[in-house]
Structures are given as C-alpha cells and as structure tokens.
Symmetry: C2
C-alpha cells in the first residue's frame, strides 16, 4: 500500500494506475477505522478497482461546539487496517493541504442539507459536500463508496453528483452492526459501559418500528412515538426521530412508499445516529 | 466540427480524443458569438488541444427580471463561426439536458459573489459557478478559457477551481474591443444607434482613470468620481464604478498595488460592463 499526504502525489499515482487501464475507487473516511469502513473497501474490491482511501477529519463539517478536536485519530492503526483490507493508496492530508487558503468556494445541496442531522448541525452538510467535491476532484474516481449509516449524507452526495454531473458513480454500502445491533461508529468509543449498553436502543427501537410498518401501521407519527417511547426508557436524549421518504427525505403524511426511519440520540455529549430503510 | 446537445455523447467523443493522447480545452459561452469568443478559441488553439465550445444560455444565472428570454440566440450562425475558428466539438444542450431535475446542488464562492455585478444581480454568480462546475465535470478539460471582460466571473471561477481542487487550469483571455474601444458583447445588439455611440464612454472613462493612476493619483474615490463624471455626460445610468484589488476584489483604501477598475452602466434596460487592470 502506498501512502501520502500530498495532493500532487495522489494525482501522480492515480494517473499511473489509470494509464495501466485500472478503474479508480474512492473510499472517503475520517479514519479511526472500524468494520463499517472495511465493508466499503470490500465493496470497492468487488469492483476490481485501484482503491484509494482518504483519511481526513474535515474541520469544515464540524460546528464550533462539536467534537472536531477530540474526534478519535490513530493513523498508524488505520494504515495497518487499510493495508490489510486491500487499500492501494492511503491519502491522509493535513488541514493545511486541504485548505491552504481561506475557503470561499463551497457546495450546497438545498432542502436536504437543513433537515435531520442538518437541522442540529448547521453547515455540516455544506462541509461534507465541499470536502467530498474536493476529494472527487483530487482522486477522479469511477466509483465512490459511502456507508448507509450516514443515510442523509449518502443521498446528498448522490444528488450533488447528479445535479453537478460529477463523472462518478456513488455507491451506498449497508450498515455494519455490532452483535447486539449497535451500528459501528468511530464515536462509539466515547460511550461509558452503561451508555454502550443503553445505546442498543437505537437499533432495537428502529427494528420495532420497522416491524410495525410491515404489520400495517401507516401513520408516521405513531411510528415516531413508538421509537420515542423506547428511547425515553434510557438516559438517551433524542435529537430527532423521523420517518421520511427514502428517495429524497421528503416529509411523509402516510407510509405508502419506501421510507427511511432515522434517529439521532445523545448519550451525554456523544451523538449517535442510525436508520432503517423499510418498504411499506 | 462535431455537434451534439447530449451530455452522454460529449463524454464519448472526449474519451475518444483523450485516448488519442489529446489535451482537452473548454470554451464555455452563451453563444451569439463575437470576436471576444473567437479570441478564446484562438487561445485554446495555441494550447494545441481538442477544443470543446459549449453554447448554453444558462437560466440559473439570470434574475427573474433579467434578459434570459430575449438574450440573443443564433445557433446556426454560431456553429458556422465556431467551425471556422477551429472548434472540434460544439456542445449545445437545451435546458432540460442541463437541468433535468429540480436543482438542489449549487456552488457558491462567498465574498466575491456579492460584490459588483453580484450586488445588482443576486444569485448570478451562484448560477455561473454552478453551470461552469457542471461543464467542467461533463467535459473534464485540461484548460478552460474565460474572457476578462467578465473579470469578476474569471476571478470567481479561478477561486472555485482552486478551492475545490478542480483538475483544470483556468485561463483569462484579454478583452476584445470595437475600433472605438467598446468591449465586444452579445448584448451590444440591444443598443440603439445613439446608445451605441454613447456606450464608448465606458472605455473612455476607464482609460482616463487608468491614465490618472499612472500619473500618480492614489485615491480610489477620486478615480471613481472621475469616471462617474464622464458617464453622467451621457444617457447612461451607473450601476457601479469601483476600484478594487485585482487579485481578489478586496476594497482598496489607497491604490498601491494592481487594481481593477470596473464599471457597469445601463443604457435603458441594456446593462454593459467593462474593466481595466492597472498597475499602480
């Protein structure tokens, strides 16, 4: 596995891979890798591409009171895992390399950027769309892989790529879970043992809700209430619980198409998200 | 010269040119070609590239009360001129091809987008940055050529390309003028004979101002007043007259570096712009 923090070197290495006829796959991450990230790499491997993984904790997508500073980082461990998973090039730029000047140009995806996670994290998706846009221009991949745990992010990036004609295919990869159902997340390390035990409520309440829909419940408000009730039995503080159209996150009056049930819950200052896509 | 209105076909043709080892040059226009556009093509020819000219009157960069509907169009004349100038591929999509869905994703270049032309045309540069972003993704050129008459547009696109790591070189091409000094513009056809005669005041007042700077005037307010005085002798209505830093359009307290003197003037409903870059 090759490694570099330099954009110019990435371009060089990729040009070489391309000249050998290889397809390029991008797996953008913020590092502190877990099985969720490795599932992205596995999906890229099935595409038989030259796999570029980026590791960059992007300050532009963190709010002033969020966890940018304390976000977990361990580049050497990550490099070891990435190499083992089959990554061909690890790109780990520092902030200065990615943002050498005052950032003026940004990418916005209206409507979707202000819902759900966007409502409690103003500017977050502008930061995400902007850094992904940069990474797509640096790596110029044929395919880019995103985890479906960040479902809203996946839809926003897909819409961005479509609206702006990015020459790339955006691929969503299913959520990887712990054995008790908790979605894998770099932020899980923040949880105390008690919080870790309680955090399973996200998946459990989502599963109950999905079962209710499959059994015929069509009222999104009732589904949301069911989840709220379950979470209220823990120390978790609800940020949002919402049932939305799975294709574009539009509000749903009655569940008559495929919906995404999305939740965000704080355990003290740790914010966890999860979702399930359910066909009515 | 090849011609198409289809994005998929553009991609195919360009992939072929690239596979033959050719560099790709993009000349984005709104059509109704004049010598200013042909100077862009000539600059692209010096780069010995496969030259793609786009012709697209982009609704996203026009305000609701602007001249989108009546903007002059003549595709057959344009195709003839483009072929004669050495364009290899003419891309002339319709609105549906460029915006098949509701546009959610846009590109913004903060600060610069709200000054000068951006102040009187809210949303204009968002429309420009977004459509140029799309064209860059469709054509994937090595170089893209922009006329320096739209100086602010040139700086915004350059900053966008730099901030977002677009793999392209943005090249500015000097203004082409009529024999009396009026900058070539597709909008000049709107002018009555009397307005056409008066419109030379833009270039004349800019030239006087540039001479004053070269003779030692360092107060931008005095330069602006000089230009305002000259224009007030005509039927022209001033939109703005400004002396700004030529590198980033920052306000200038004293003229001590290279500045751009930029003006926008209405003759009835026809809005003309012009500028001169002057070294102090």
């Amino acid at each position: 596995m090759q490694r570099t923090g330099q954009i110019a070197e990435v371009r060089q290495i990729i040009q070489q891979a391309r000249s050998l006829g290889q397809k390029i796959a991008l797996v953008p991450t913020m590092g502190y890798l877990h099985e969720g990230h490795l599932a992205l790499v596995a999906a890229a491997q099935r595409a038989e591409a030259f796999i570029v993984m980026s590791i960059f904790v992007n300050p532009l997508q963190f709010g002033p009171n969020e966890d940018f500073e304390r976000y977990p980082r361990d580049l050497e461990r990550d490099a070891h895992l990435a190499a083992g998973a089959g990554v061909d090039l690890l790109f780990h730029p520092d902030v200065k390399e990615m943002y050498p000047e005052v950032v003026e140009a940004t990418v916005r995806v209206e409507t979707m950027e202000n819902l759900l996670c966007g409502a409690s994290r103003p500017g977050h998706f502008r930061g995400v769309a902007t850094v992904v846009s940069k990474l797509l221009h640096i790596v110029q991949p044929d395919q880019a892989f995103f985890g479906l745990k960040d479902y809203q992010q996946y839809l926003i990036i897909k819409k961005m790529a479509r609206d702006l004609n990015f020459p790339v295919e955006i691929i969503g990869v299913p959520i990887v879970r712990e054995s008790d159902g908790l979605a894998k997340s770099s932020r899980n390390v923040y949880l105390s043992p008690q919080e870790r035990a309680e955090a399973v409520v996200l998946y459990q309440s989502l599963s109950l809700a999905a079962a209710a829909i499959r059994e015929g419940e069509r009222d999104p408000r009732k589904i949301e209430a069911l989840i709220r009730q379950k979470i209220s039995e823990t120390s978790g503080r609800i940020d949002y619980v919402e049932v939305r159209n799975a294709a574009d996150l539009a509000a749903v009056e009655r569940i008559e198409q495929t919906v995404v049930i999305a939740v965000a819950v704080y355990f003290k200052t740790t914010r966890l998200i999860d979702n399930l896509v359910v066909q009515a």
